[in-house]
Amino acid sequence: MAKYATQEWCDLYKEALNKNTAWSEAAKTWEGDFYFIFEVGGPIKEPRYMYIDLWHGNCRACEMVTDTSKYKPEFIISAPYPIWKRICLKQLDSTQAIITKQSKLTGNMAKIMRYTKAANELTNTTQKLPTEWED
């Protein structure tokens, strides 16, 4: 069990992703990294930043960062913590979250939409992780 949006959770997520053969198969040609930004809201009083680097079906890095200038990822997705929680628990589809502006995407959405299966496996993996929520 790890607290969501912490380095401990990132380590678990990286390990789980790399064991998820459905994800690695679906993402075998994917090249791209992300910042997931947890905006202030719910139990979060300060924004948090998660960097994740996905490359050819392999999660090469997943880390919490404090200095956002450390990486220049291709994509940034930001949302308040309660929205991330709903996405992770599959109570809210990640595409629907973007459509309704509950989350914001910076980067080429068309590229992500070509990897729907892989994106779905990303959230399937979070759903299965033993996660402690702060609210």
């Binding site: 589809d93 459509i99 914001k104 995407l105 959405m109 068309a110 070509r114 729907t116």
Partner: protein, 390 residues
């Protein structure tokens, strides 16, 4: 949080005269060469003339419009700076009009970036009108934009809730001349939108109504419109059903029939409506076999649209049987083999077909999400015309 969007709909005889009421001075009309040739564009520009509007036509939209064409349209609309962008045509033209008006607001973007991730506020500059000339895609009542990346050889599902037309004009005069084959192909598309929208994971009580009514109207009127194109009542009702179908799936999501149909259409150039209609009964059987919730919804449709009776499973089966019967009446293919596709070529393409189907949003917005193995089997069964038994 979710939202239901719809244009203001002017419909019925002489609905084109709504154009006389619009504000603004300049209209940029998006069409294709065929619409011009058939005289349908003139019916619209006559109204614009009568209203004293200046207008310019961009008639270079091809079927499954490319990013290149949209960029060209974007440059033309930027030069003209209209108060209205009006799409007159089938789904390709209406989708092109939606993309072009977004570029009017955001000329800095490439056409493949026309997504909900961006903000456009195009209504600060112009309004969007859609005038369908086919009864199928329902594009006049959705915000979806399908474009083709000719470099990657892929269709791109783009659009943003902002790209919903402000006005849709459903005037039967625009569809009376549709030939039987196009009437049948596009009619099957309507059925697919209505049923898949009704059963989508993203659907709700708010989106159920349009799907249910559209399905009933297709069963009542499609064969009539196919057999007698001059049947005004059938033409009108199919036109309305198409718009309702658009409101159904456009406010929820299409489903597996579209995922498999898109894949087949892309690789074997089968018309959209024919391809999605072909897979509809197979994918319904698949969903029925694994999703009780979907079976209940099919049964609801069967009772309302066909007067079916019996338990949910029997009613759902009756709906699927009725779709196959309808397709047969319209001389639509009942299997992939009926499309004249060579088996060896098809078998070779199955990995690509599966990969494409897996990566459609519509594959994950159904209540039984297939993995590769099931898709491989579904494509194989559909080739032979064998009902799905797994």
């Amino acid at each position: 949080m979710w939202a239901f969007s719809s244009p203001m709909i002017s419909y019925g005889d002489n609905a084109l005269e709504y154009i006389l009421q619009i504000r603004g001075n300049k209209a940029f009309v998006v069409a294709d060469k065929n619409i011009v040739k058939l005289g349908l564009l003139k019916l619209v520009t006559d109204q614009l003339d009568a209203a004293g509007k200046k207008w310019e036509v961009f008639d270079e939209v091809e079927p499954e419009p490319s990013l290149i064409t949209i960029k060209k349209g974007g440059a033309a609309v930027a030069k003209f700076q209209p108060d209205w962008v009006i799409g007159v045509g089938g789904g390709s033209v209406m989708d092109a009009a939606k993309a072009i008006i977004l570029l009017l607001a955001r000329p800095d973007l490439e056409p493949d970036a026309l997504s909900p991730a961006e903000t456009f506020n195009f209504r600060d500059k112009a309004r969007l009108m859609a005038i369908p000339t086919t009864s199928g895609t329902g594009s006049e009542a959705t915000w979806a934009i399908v474009l083709t990346d000719t470099v990657l050889g892929r269709k791109l599902g783009l659009g943003t809730p902002e790209s919903m037309p402000d006005v849709a004009i459903l005037d039967p005069v625009m569809v009376m001349g549709m030939p039987p084959l196009i009437t049948a192909d596009t009619g099957m598309d309507v059925l697919c939108h209505a049923i898949e929208g009704y059963t989508s994971l993203w659907g709700s009580t708010i989106t159920d109504g349009p799907g249910l009514i559209a399905t009933r109207r297709v069963f009542q009127y499609l064969v009539r419109a196919y057999k007698d194109g001059s049947d005004l009542e059938a033409r009108k009702e199919m036109m309305y059903a198409a718009t309702l179908g658009g409101m159904s799936f456009g406010n929820s999501m299409a489903g597996l029939g579209h995922s498999l149909g898109h894949a087949l259409g892309a690789l074997f150039h089968i018309p959209h409506g024919r391809a999605v209609g072909l897979f509809l009964p197979y994918t319904m059987e698949y969903l029925m076999n694994g999703s009780e919730e979907t079976t209940v919804k099919y049964a609801e449709m069967a009772r309302f649209c066909l007067g079916a009776s019996g338990d949910d499973k029997a009613c759902a089966k009756a709906l699927i049987a009725a779709i196959r019967k309808l397709a047969k009446s319209l001389a639509q293919p009942l299997s992939v083999k009926d499309c004249g596709i060579d088996k060896a070529k098809y078998d070779k393409a199955i990995p690509d077909l599966v990969d494409r189907a897996l990566n459609e949003v519509m594959t994950i917005s159904v209540k039984r999400i297939p993995e590769s193995e099931d898709l491989i089997k579904m494509f194989a069964y559909a080739y032979q015309g064998k009902p799905i038994d797994f």
